[in-house]
């Protein structure tokens, strides 16, 4: 049936944030979106990656974040920043190759890491209108690698997107290059409340990389609208440390705005 037994010491969202923060290496640059990517980035900067170069789309370069910004244009994104610049400056240097990781959330994702944040249903008269690309299309086009963080379910991991807002591997190997997108790896890792995924080199389809503690393969498949490739050996994701949990709850998001969900 699929097991997702939950460790009472942390919530699925806390686990998600902690695992995601592990992908950001010290000394690399990351272009961050709002919500869980931001929480994971703040956690990385306060733990293993103090030299993380953070970019926010409104024009913040290299902040050392003190409190959780509500908006990626919030003045809190500028705390101890090296520059308060402009969106044009930031998007231009991103296009020119200065962004290692783009860090995104999504409403719907397909097996190739393409993301929908525009509409559910018909575009002209949608069942649910969502915000649109925002900076996501730009981040996923320009970053050398894209990290995606989202909650997975049969409804969010879909066989066919209602709308392809943001490019993943598009239609498969070579798809990004054929479309004219800048050279780069595209989607690199996907982190959900159940597991970490990468993409199979030959097909650019989603492949299980590590299972979170207490989760089995059946649970991962059950919570997906498409079939996920499973390699022979699957690692187990690291559980959050006490220090990570303390930082999340007491320092980064004491009001529980993101991790409380």
């Amino acid at each position: 049936m699929g097991s997702t037994s939950q460790d009472p010491r942390y919530t699925p969202t806390e686990l998600l944030a902690c695992v995601a923060s592990g992908f950001l290496e010290d000394g690399c640059s990351v272009f961050v979106g709002t919500g869980l990517p931001l929480i994971a980035t703040m956690l990385a900067q306060r733990t293993h990656a103090p030299g993380l170069l953070i970019f926010f789309e409104a024009g913040s370069f290299g902040p050392q974040l003190k409190a959780l910004p509500i908006s990626v244009g919030d003045s809190r994104t500028l705390h101890r920043a090296i520059s308060a610049s402009s969106m044009h400056d930031l998007m231009s240097i991103s296009q020119a190759g200065f962004v290692d990781y783009g860090f995104l959330g999504g409403a719907q994702m397909d097996s190739r890491g393409n993301i929908n944040t525009t509409v559910i249903g018909d575009h002209a008269l949608p069942k649910a209108r969502l915000p649109g690309s925002g900076g996501a299309n730009d981040v996923a086009s320009f970053a050398h690698r894209t990290l995606i963080i989202m909650r997975q379910s049969e409804r969010s991991f879909v066989g066919k997107l209602d709308f392809l807002t943001t490019p993943g591997h598009l239609d498969g190997p070579g798809g990004r290059q054929r479309a004219g997108l800048p050279v780069g790896d595209g989607p690199y890792r996907v982190v959900t409340q159940l597991a970490v995924y990468d993409f199979d080199e030959g097909t650019k389809r989603l492949r299980l990389h590590s299972l979170h503690p207490g989760v089995d393969v059946a649970a991962v498949q059950k919570n997906s609208g498409f079939s996920i490739l499973v390699p022979e050996r699957v690692a187990v994701s690291p559980a959050p440390t006490a220090e990570q949990l303390r930082l999340l709850r007491e320092v980064i998001d004491p009001a529980g705005i993101v991790i409380g969900k």
Partner: protein, 339 residues
């Protein structure tokens, strides 16, 4: 040059660059003229029904709320809205029934606060049409092409996606690299309103914090209303010319509006009024609630000063200043209400 793909989105606010040059020549004076006026006068003179409008700042950061409320108060209709980094500004304007069409980059959300009930309802019931999709950089570069007096700007985003299919951009084969490249058309909004920290009476403006895309937006705007926290002497501008983000000759009106971004943030000055935004998010879940909100905060007051008294006056504003300085924690009533 071979066109590989054409977006089907409606092209809002595009003009032939020569037509735009003539418009600038005829309408934008290079003389130092005192442009101070009331918000009410600026809106009635510079924003017409049916205009393609854009708001500066970042949707809920450094927003010209006094102009926005005045557009609603004067019942402007059939506007076409640049849903660039549109958050609170666009949500209120669409919910109030002023907008018919929107080009969406980021438009129906309040970032961490969740989605926008009011403006989403307007789209989902067919009262507002999303006529084109684009991304944040895409919109930014529509304004950049406008500022540069070009018909378009080449870019490497949007490619391969439905965002491009529903945009007004085109894809060609780049004659230099031979690779597909996206051409993003220029935009020249009929009317733009931008809120700044400091401006002089001629319209020279200084901005603290990120300028976001206001350098480009101010220069491609056909008519530009500046609201400012504080009017300063031109000597102050001339003593720090490196701080000038917007030069006077692109500006058509200057209005002094202290706390003019409320309930949105003014970087390095005051924080979001999260309680007020929570009230809006709760009320905007229905048409009746929107009407209640507008009656209370827009139609029952004469101007922005009256509005500030109503939202909590000097004590509230001082508290928002302390939150901005990290001297008091922020509150998130929209968050605790949901849990």
């Amino acid at each position: 040059m071979k066109v590989l793909q054409e977006g089907t989105g409606k092209l809002l606010g595009w003009h032939d660059p020569d037509e735009q040059r003539l418009w600038v020549h005829e309408h934008k004076t290079r003389e130092l003229v005192d442009k101070r006026c009331s918000v009410s006068e600026a809106v009635s003179r510079l924003i017409q029904d049916g205009d393609y409008v854009a708001s500066g700042g970042f949707g809920h950061v450094r927003v010209g709320m006094a102009v926005l409320y005045e557009i609603i108060r004067q019942k402007k209709r059939h506007l076409k809205l640049a849903g660039k980094t549109a958050v609170h500004d666009a949500d209120v304007l669409m919910s109030a029934g002023c907008v018919d069409e929107v080009e969406a980059a980021y438009t129906f959300g309040h970032e961490l606060r969740g989605l926008s009930p009011g403006s989403r309802r307007m789209v989902q019931t067919g009262r507002v049409k999303v006529v084109a999709e684009i991304s944040n950089a895409g919109y930014q570069w529509r304004f950049l092409a406008g500022m540069m007096g070009l018909p378009f700007i080449p870019a490497r985003n949007l490619l391969g996606t439905d965002t491009l299919r529903y945009s007004s951009a085109k894809v060609i084969e780049d004659p230099f690299s031979g690779k597909p490249i996206c051409l993003i058309p220029a935009a020249y909004p009929d009317a733009v309103f931008i809120h700044v920290q400091r401006a002089d009476k001629y319209g020279n403006c200084q901005i603290d914090g990120s300028v976001v895309e206001d350098i480009e937006l101010s220069r491609c705007a056909r008519r530009l209303i500046v609201t400012t926290e504080k009017l300063v002497d031109t000597d102050e501008i001339r003593s720090q010319p490196d701080r000038t983000a917007i030069p006077y000759f692109v500006v058509d009106a200057v209005c002094e509006v202290p706390f003019g971004s409320h309930p949105c943030q003014m970087p390095q000055d005051y924080y979001f009024d999260e309680e007020h935004i929570a009230e809006w998010l709760a009320l905007s879940k229905s048409d009746q609630g929107v009407q209640e909100y507008l009656d209370k905060y827009v139609f029952s007051v004469k101007d922005f000063a009256g509005y500030l008294d109503k939202v909590g006056g000097a004590a509230l504003l001082e508290r928002l200043r302390r939150i901005e300085r990290y001297e008091e924690p922020m509150v998130a009533p929209w968050c605790t209400a949901e849990r």
